[in-house]
Symmetry: D2
Subunit: 242 residues, 4 copies
Amino acid sequence: MSENNAKHVNVLDHGYVRLNDVMGSDLTVANSARVSYAKASAELTDRDRRLIAFLAREGHTSPFRHAIAQFEIHAPLMVARQWWKYNVGSAHQEGTGDSLDAWNESSRRYVTEEPVFYVPGADEWRSKPENSKQGSGANLPGYEGEFYTRRLFEIIDECEEMYENAMSIGIAPEQARLFLPAYGMYVRWYWTASLQSVCHFLAQRLAEDSQAEIQAYAKAILTLIEPHFPVAVGELMPKGER
Amino acid sequence: MSENNAKHVNVLDHGYVRLNDVMGSDLTVANSARVSYAKASAELTDRDRRLIAFLAREGHTSPFRHAIAQFEIHAPLMVARQWWKYNVGSAHQEGTGDSLDAWNESSRRYVTEEPVFYVPGADEWRSKPENSKQGSGANLPGYEGEFYTRRLFEIIDECEEMYENAMSIGIAPEQARLFLPAYGMYVRWYWTASLQSVCHFLAQRLAEDSQAEIQAYAKAILTLIEPHFPVAVGELMPKGER
Amino acid sequence: MSENNAKHVNVLDHGYVRLNDVMGSDLTVANSARVSYAKASAELTDRDRRLIAFLAREGHTSPFRHAIAQFEIHAPLMVARQWWKYNVGSAHQEGTGDSLDAWNESSRRYVTEEPVFYVPGADEWRSKPENSKQGSGANLPGYEGEFYTRRLFEIIDECEEMYENAMSIGIAPEQARLFLPAYGMYVRWYWTASLQSVCHFLAQRLAEDSQAEIQAYAKAILTLIEPHFPVAVGELMPKGER
Amino acid sequence: MSENNAKHVNVLDHGYVRLNDVMGSDLTVANSARVSYAKASAELTDRDRRLIAFLAREGHTSPFRHAIAQFEIHAPLMVARQWWKYNVGSAHQEGTGDSLDAWNESSRRYVTEEPVFYVPGADEWRSKPENSKQGSGANLPGYEGEFYTRRLFEIIDECEEMYENAMSIGIAPEQARLFLPAYGMYVRWYWTASLQSVCHFLAQRLAEDSQAEIQAYAKAILTLIEPHFPVAVGELMPKGER
């Protein structure tokens, strides 16, 4: 594992994507397509490049399932939900959640991380798109957005206060959380996925009508993954179509 | 499809589980284990019962993947999240969500269903368990719970008001929802799963330390599925272990 | 389940595809995309048809995963291998095989079905394609093919004789089968798959450069499935592209 | 990737398992269960060990899906079939097969590897087990096995001769292979699987009533994987139960 694998991109107000680990390279894709023993070369040849282009063009996706990446992601719950729902076949593991307590072997109370919430800045509120498709239109003027940013902070404060009040009287955390404005609450998880799965996610989430917040995460994933698989990502995600 | 397949069980204050469709019966499990042509009988024999018991006991789970059930579920988001996360291999389709707008072919504005929220009654608030494991302890006395029920209603009202305010000024619904106390918000989805997957879900979610709200849904699923596969469910989920 | 669901198409010299069961219809696809309660109508409307066309065109494939079909297939092993390898996410259950013995509760010896082999007729041997791509070229003249048909019958006889000889002296069937020319040996299995998975299989296996023997099975699947989902199959598999 | 990751174990007469690549370590399992940022330590603590033991004991298998291994395997077709069939969720890629020709960009004829076959030695033929369960009983005496070893070599020779004859006259390889005694023919493939998937495979294939040939491959996999995940493999596959 070379040094430059551990990378980190900040996203939104408190989020990030971190590339934890990578298995394989462009050569893995070519070698797994061929499965010819003892032919692993250290350098990618032009023949390898043409093979990868052929595989991507013809939809022979299985060799792209033998290269793997693992990310750690910190994102609002609404982003996490979309991510999980559309990614069949990859593994997710969320830690700040329902079941962590179960494997805390000590008798000490489990100390929940302080909840952190996504709050769009005054100039980051987007209008509904004209043509009723999903996605967003132009941003609201900042003097209008200011009100919603302030009110969201106030609502979060009030909700958190009740959440803590409920916890302090001994209500189970699994119920106390009903007070939280959860769509914007940050959750953290591990995502381990094949290169095929990563590129499928990118194709969906870099699309213009995708929610802006998840687009921002997709761009971070692309930044982190492309240096490790420049040929494969280039063929699966042609620059013109991004 | 016989008449009694279309069933419905109410869960929590506004939720339900509905059995939309079923494919197969106990006989499907036995026949798919044997795959012997032209031996399909209309009645389950004792030999079939012994075969199903053998398959369940020895962990030969693949024949249970050839019987299928489809449910429609209306549940708080916090329940939906747990359901989706731990059910690899089954298909979920949520409709009241991010992407429905996309396939509304008319130019008319998409009319979002009025949000509905789960609010525990005064005597339904549960305490944190003593031993710091996940799950809940005894219920709070009603005179204490009353305060939290009332406050949760108030918070929901205030949050909804801001949500509607934001929508009315033209903020995109995908951002306006940040104001909502989403953990308790009901979502509706289709769940199509094999009998193996359904029983795996039940084994996890009927467990005592599972969250009470999802336990209630698991009981509804069991009520709906058992009449269709009495032998298979009985062997995979022995009564003593429920 | 209506009567005309149980259908059967013969394929090759001794094979067949049988549609065992179906769950859902075109309406299932539309309803699962909408997930709107109590709106299930008995008849498919034009709006439903446009929705299905939209879903297929835009690649929103998840609603197609809520309609299910189950087939029983009898095919040469070389066909079965290709079928299993490229169909991630659907369930296969083979019965005439390695493990059936395990769930035979009686003490009686497991009586293996007589092996049956695929043998191309004299005019069914195909030439290697000119341009070195996979697939086949024109058929050999019958007077040339005759020799190979006869020799294949002879080889099968000789191999079977040794297989039976080995069994008779008490060699374990799992080793005795090493004598069999297995690529052409028929195996029988159950295939339970979503409509998405079935159409993915068809798209790959109806292609011209696919092996002729598996193309024949793909055509049988299409014949059996299309009457149950005429709109969805028509949109996912446009006639012009078959 | 440390040097000792590239390892190789010979299996049967011409087979092998090679560990191509590994992603993660025992620490990956512990860290993915916790998902707590910036707590990755270089050394596994006792607390990590207890956590892994807890996860394995309680069946919380998802953290084991974030550690990945990739193998190259050379095994008889009958072993490959069992491997593929029971390993849902992992990726296989076979190269010496039906479709390699498709991505050979040159116009030169694709040169098939010489087929290689598994032939049990005179003292390696196993008897049918007494009690009619699957698996094998004691080995046949060598003076009996000698006949079957010799006959299998002869049959392979005769079959190969016809295979080559058919190829030489221009019959498509996809049909010519019908002459081959394919169950024992070696195939080569890549297998990329999570640690959970690998241990599930081992649990099934190290079992005593599993076919001896696949048991031999399972032992090779265990030898290669255990040094990389000593704690996790030890907890998931307790020595007493192997």
